[in-house]
């Protein structure tokens, strides 16, 4: 019996090859889209809000925590403003703070963000591994370190000389006169840091045209003259606490509730998670669209099978005359629909991986964040199962038509 079913189904799929291919493709598209929507959104959320960044909090000017995190951790968006240098010093000297790293931004190298900081940042050997003959910059000199993407895309290597541009978008008319020498390139870290040019923070202070307002008054650094701390500013301070959450909560209360000129983004992942939660409605719309595509795929299975029922009435009558039960004929159509859906679901993985790889490439190019293409998500099991169920369901109506075939009337001719 099973052999008979397989023979009937296989023959029909081959006989109606074109509609089989089209319906399998639509099922694959539907299945792949649903998996991609769920997986990409989940992995994006994971990558942007769950990944360890080596710090617990970001201290910045009063404003949005999200903007602060985007600017400091993901090197996106503009800085919400600057903090006086003394805020950084206060944090650095606080016994509850294990590490405090200042960031100063405002320049770019052909579109890649330049971050002024201290060499202390690179003590985290997990995230910052220099390649070959690289070395860290000398804080007193015009030396730069490159993230792997910057080096690759700009074709720069150790010894290359570059001119930073003012602002976060590249404009060749805004190139600074200062020339920096590349002294090191980092290995790929699959993080936003791959897209950053690191220079000594002193370099930002001294870049031509930069005005420091740490004291409340405009100050421009002069060559050979030491900059008093009161003039210095930072865009943000990355913080790692001793004492974990309790310290984080204490600082958060102290800075966010009691101070007026600073914001502490703590914990870092929370701001990103809130962003994804706020954008949840976009996901809902994408999910609805994907479900509709699945429904259309199921509809196309139904329509393609139903349309063949008239031409196949004689075939069913012959099968019945040979001894096939009604349920055998019914099963043959349901199995045929299920096979189309199963093939579609299987090919859906190719669609899913295609979409995921494309999305991952775009996200990595734009942000440096890497989405994990092989990561497990329940949708990878539930969607094919759902597609199969929809296909089987779609097969029931044409199957009933086959089931109800009048054998005698369709064994033409009669005499």
């Amino acid at each position: 019996m099973i052999g008979g079913l397989a023979m009937i189904v296989g023959r029909s799929l081959r006989q109606h090859a074109l509609s089989t291919v089209v319906t399998v493709a639509s099922a694959a598209l539907g299945s792949g889209l649903v998996m991609a929507v769920f997986a990409v959104s989940e992995q994006s959320k994971e990558a942007f809000s769950g990944g360890p960044v080596g710090f617990d909090a970001v201290l910045g000017a009063r404003g949005s925590e999200l903007q602060l995190v985007l600017n400091t951790v993901f090197h996106l968006e503009t800085s919400p403003g600057n903090l006086p240098w003394e805020k950084y010093v206060a944090m650095k000297e606080d016994r509850r703070v294990e590490r405090a790293i200042p960031y100063a931004v405002g320049d770019n190298l052909e579109g890649f963000r330049i971050v002024g900081t201290t060499a202390e940042l690179f003590e985290d050997a997990e995230r910052f591994r220099l390649v070959g003959d690289s070395r860290l910059f000398d804080p007193e000199r015009r030396e730069a370190l490159l993230g792997s993407t910057v080096a690759r895309e700009l074709g720069l290597r150790i010894g290359s000389r570059v001119h930073p541009s003012h602002g976060l978008e590249h404009n060749e008319h805004h190139d600074h006169d200062e020339e920096y020498v590349i002294v090191g390139v980092f290995e790929p870290s699959n993080s936003p840091n791959d897209r950053v040019v690191w220079i000594p923070i002193e370099g930002i202070f001294r870049m031509g045209g930069h005005v420091l307002r740490g004291s409340g008054e405009h100050y421009e650094a002069k060559p050979g003259e030491e900059i008093e701390d009161e003039h210095k500013e930072v865009s943000a301070v990355l913080l790692k606490f001793r004492g974990g959450n309790r310290t984080g909560q204490t600082f958060s209360n102290q800075i966010n509730l009691e101070e007026k000129d600073a914001t502490l983004a703590w914990p870092i992942g929370k701001s990103m998670a809130e962003l994804f939660n706020k954008l949840g409605w976009v996901n809902r719309i994408l999910e609805v669209v994907a479900y509709l595509v699945v429904a259309v795929a199921a509809g196309s299975i139904l329509a393609s099978l139903y349309n063949t029922m008239n031409e196949r009435r004689r075939e069913f009558a012959i099968l019945r005359a040979l001894g096939a039960r009604r349920r055998t004929v019914f099963s043959a159509i349901v199995v045929e629909a299920g096979t189309i859906a199963a093939l579609g679901a299987a090919l859906g993985f190719a669609v899913y991986y295609g979409i995921l790889l494309a999305a991952a490439a775009v996200v990595q190019r734009q942000t440096g964040v890497v989405l994990e293409a092989g990561a497990w998500h329940p949708a990878l099991a539930l969607t094919p199962a759902g597609m199969l169920a929809m296909g089987v369901l779609a097969g029931c109506l044409p199957a009933y038509k086959a089931y109800a075939t009048d054998v005698a009337a369709n064994l033409v001719p009669t005499s």
């Binding site: 023959r11 019945r320 005359a321 040979l322 096939a324 039960r325 064994l411 033409v412 005499s415």
Partner: protein, 221 residues
């Protein structure tokens, strides 16, 4: 082996009138017996074969096959009976177009006792189609198609072969040859044969022949 008793079957015409097609007080067929049943076009020959095959259920009466009343069986049980005990040769052969000659034979077996590829090949070989196993019906001559249909009918080693105008689509020159083949194979495979035809020349080849008009007492009245 087969006994039809007080069989009645009627259809309702499009204008709502009931038309009695079969009203047969008694008809019997012994094991391995070969009978030709004559009847004019539209006299109910196909309907009778369909009732005997269990495709149609009679309105009343009994169709006893080895003592079991087919009319009392469920549709599924009649399907099972047909797959195991009955071979059917149609006038237009009713081969499945997308399938090869061998697959046409094998498919019929799958609903019965199970596919026996060796026996299917043996049958086709016996019918001179050993080199046409992978040909589709459209690639075979009419005579070859009929032989595939005959192989399919005999594939489940049925006790009864029903043949509905099996020579109706054949060249007269080949019709006699085909008839002889059907009779010989049914005899060799120990199957009874009930063959319906409107061709009087067919009668001459059978020791026993009946006319449906004679059997159909009620309709005649």
């Amino acid at each position: 082996m087969l006994e039809v008793l007080d069989l009645k079957k009627a259809y309702r015409s499009p204008d709502g009138e009931e038309q009695v097609v079969l009203d047969i007080p008694r008809f019997a067929l012994g094991a391995k017996e070969q009978v030709a049943l004559m009847g004019t076009s539209g006299s109910g020959k196909t309907t009778l074969l369909n009732v005997i095959a269990g495709i149609l259920r009679p309105d009343s009466g009994k169709v006893l096959f080895e003592g079991e009343d087919l009319a009392a069986l469920s549709e599924s049980a009649r399907d099972k009976h047909r797959a195991r005990n009955v071979g059917y040769v149609f006038q237009t052969f009713n081969l499945l177009q997308g399938y090869t000659a061998l697959d046409n034979v094998l498919l019929g077996m799958m609903f019965g006792p199970g596919a026996d590829r060796a026996f299917a090949k043996e049958l086709l070989d016996e019918l001179g189609l050993g080199d046409r196993l992978k040909y589709r019906p459209s690639q075979l001559s009419v005579g070859q198609q009929q032989r595939v249909a005959l192989a399919r009918a005999l594939a489940n080693r049925p006790k009864l072969v029903l043949a509905d105008e099996p020579t109706g689509n054949l060249d007269p020159r080949y019709a006699q040859e085909a008839l002889e083949l059907i009779q010989r194979l049914c005899a060799e495979h120990d199957a009874a044969l009930l063959l319906v035809s409107h061709d009087e020349k067919v009668l001459a080849r059978f020791e026993r022949s009946e006319t449906l008009e004679d059997l159909n007492a009620g309709v005649r009245a």
